[in-house]
Symmetry: C4
Subunit: 217 residues, 4 copies
């Protein structure tokens, strides 16, 4: 599936995906978000603090991924740019992502709980791992888990560390304890696919962890 | 996000939110409801005993929040005003709320169960706490829990006590054992955001309580 | 809420409710159904063995509730009348129901499991009990639980016994082990409300039973 | 319910069912799929690696079930045929199926977990068993469970073994550990019904297994 060829269509698609993510309870309570590059030098990004399922195409900001500066503000001048901006730009610049989504799903929070004091959770034994680019269902797939901070931009130090770690180089997701996940792909469609895959991995692994603790299989 | 500027649009929005809350199973079986102030001297309020997802704009009542009297009845003369009227008015008058919603969600019932004999439940360790006005993700956020009564208006004594308690002054929600929750905000959009946030807190805290009891993390 | 005044509108409403019940996973896999009286001498009833969310108004049968005979068949001559016919008619004739729905929801199956070897489950400690006509939230509300049979019409003996039992005279539902529930009301709207209420009671009571077994509250 | 009489309508129906299965979280992350025969000599089949809820009628391939060869490719030349092709064809050729669906539902994964080291799971004690052609609610219904492989076509050996086993001759489903399920019927409508029934059996049996482990009934 090819991404939209016009900025107009991409703006529409990002808003459609926000409504989809809202229906899945990944971006409720104004939390979460999404962005996508347009060419190499610009990123379309959702505003902060708004009901994400109600964002309209002209509400989006255009940001320079290298500087994080706003190239074109939202048409709605009362809106502020997403607090995820520095994190989205870091993932775009340093992992070559074309699109990043941020989820506040409960399954992400519970999956991060499974890490305990470790810096990662391993997902394994699931066919859906194949939905992650470069991953086989036989892989043990470690996803980094970082600590939450009081301000979202303060996550950037840990995000940068995890982005650089070679042991996490095959992961397209970072879990944030008590918070959720950042998930990305080469374009909007791969981000959507990765988002669906990782949320499945979160749910399946949490379900199996609960089950096993009770003596199951 | 600004609330609607006309009463006509506000009536439509309240009905739209009732359909949304119904889809989320917060107002099933004719339970639950919503209200919103229009200016300082009037409140739009849903009727009682009707399938909430089927309420139409002319079905709403206009109530004087200070007296609780009906200023303008529903166009449908067979409808009765919501039994939540005195509670909605108390929260508007004494907490400056512009909108209040009442939820019958199962997650609210199970979250209230967590209080045991205590008069509150503490929500903590969740990024979503930031979605509550004035709240940080590092806060321990106590939400009062009251006992259910056989008639809804009889909750008013306990509601008034909780509204006045300084230890609960940062909470925009009151849980009612075996029943659900009242959740409010400065306007309809903040009520919606708070409703989504508190229901997430209920679900996450119930899920973690179950998990921990089985020896998890 | 008044029921539809024309048979045409009632046929549409029954089909709309089947789509709603399907979305709630109460009538999946062609299971479950609904009926409603039209006047005293006729009942509109869904066909058997069809995908219930795809039933259209002319697909419905008209049945004489006293004899169970078909007064007017479905316009689609390949359709057969619901196997629930004798059970629906018994509940209409002997409990004065104006509408009966049959659910195959998992929550009904799990709620019936709670009965163990008893002939009923007691629902209590839930505000939603008020949604049952004549019921207070302080009531202990016993719902009869019968054994499943290999053919649906063979349930009729147990159904008749339970309908006559004075200790179950306030119940508008009968649970069938491993199967689901019959739920009724004075008209379509009360059946819908009762269906939503009883399914909430099933879910809440199953959730609490699981929770308590693990040492919760 | 009769299947569509024209290929045009069948193409539409398959796409509609993919959207339905997506909404049920059976085919998320581009996983899963569906096919249906048209006459004896051709099968309509979904492409691989695409968001299944976005497949359009001209995207489908026409395949010869005996050879597995493509008779008519997708109109969208960038699409590849489903990797399920050999499995779908084997089930069509050797079990007389008219339609096969492939699910990546979590409930299928958790149901397969229940098999432990056995080669099957038995479903029993559920009315919904009647929704399987030829099955009674009193039957013990064994469904084969095979091991996952790193490439989907490599499942074919185990699939062929299970298709031939007389002890599984009444099953219209094969569970794949860590992966999901293949479910079929004589036509699209029976496949849909069987899919809904088997997913219900998976969910119910997993729920009961969890419950019982904690000392329930």
């Amino acid at each position: 599936m090819k991404g939209p060829s016009s900025q107009r269509d991409l703006r529409k698609l990002l808003c459609e995906l926000l409504r989809l993510f809202y229906a899945k309870e990944w971006v409720s309570g104004t939390g979460g978000g999404i962005c996508s590059t347009i060419g190499k030098k610009a990123v379309l990004m959702a505003p902060t603090g708004v009901h994400k399922e109600r964002v309209t195409p002209p509400d989006l900001f255009v940001v320079d991924p290298l500087s994080g500066d706003i190239i074109r503000p939202s048409k709605n001048r009362s809106l502020q740019l997403s607090e995820c901006n520095p994190i989205f730009c870091a993932i775009i610049n340093r992992r070559g992502a074309g699109s990043v989504m941020h989820s506040h799903a409960l399954s992400g929070v519970l999956a991060a709980d499974l890490a305990g004091t470790s810096d990662h959770v391993v997902f394994e034994g699931l066919e859906m791992l194949k939905g992650i680019r470069g991953c086989s269902n036989l892989d043990k797939h470690p996803v980094p888990v970082i600590h939450n901070t009081s301000r979202e931009p303060d996550l950037i130090g840990q995000i940068n560390d995890m982005i650089n770690r070679t042991d996490f180089s095959r992961s397209f997701a970072i879990l944030v304890r008590d918070h959720g996940a950042y998930i990305w792909g080469e374009d909007v469609w791969e981000s959507k696919r990765h988002a669906e895959i990782y949320h499945f991995l979160f749910e399946a692994t949490v379900a199996r962890a609960r089950y096993r603790l009770k003596g199951g299989n």
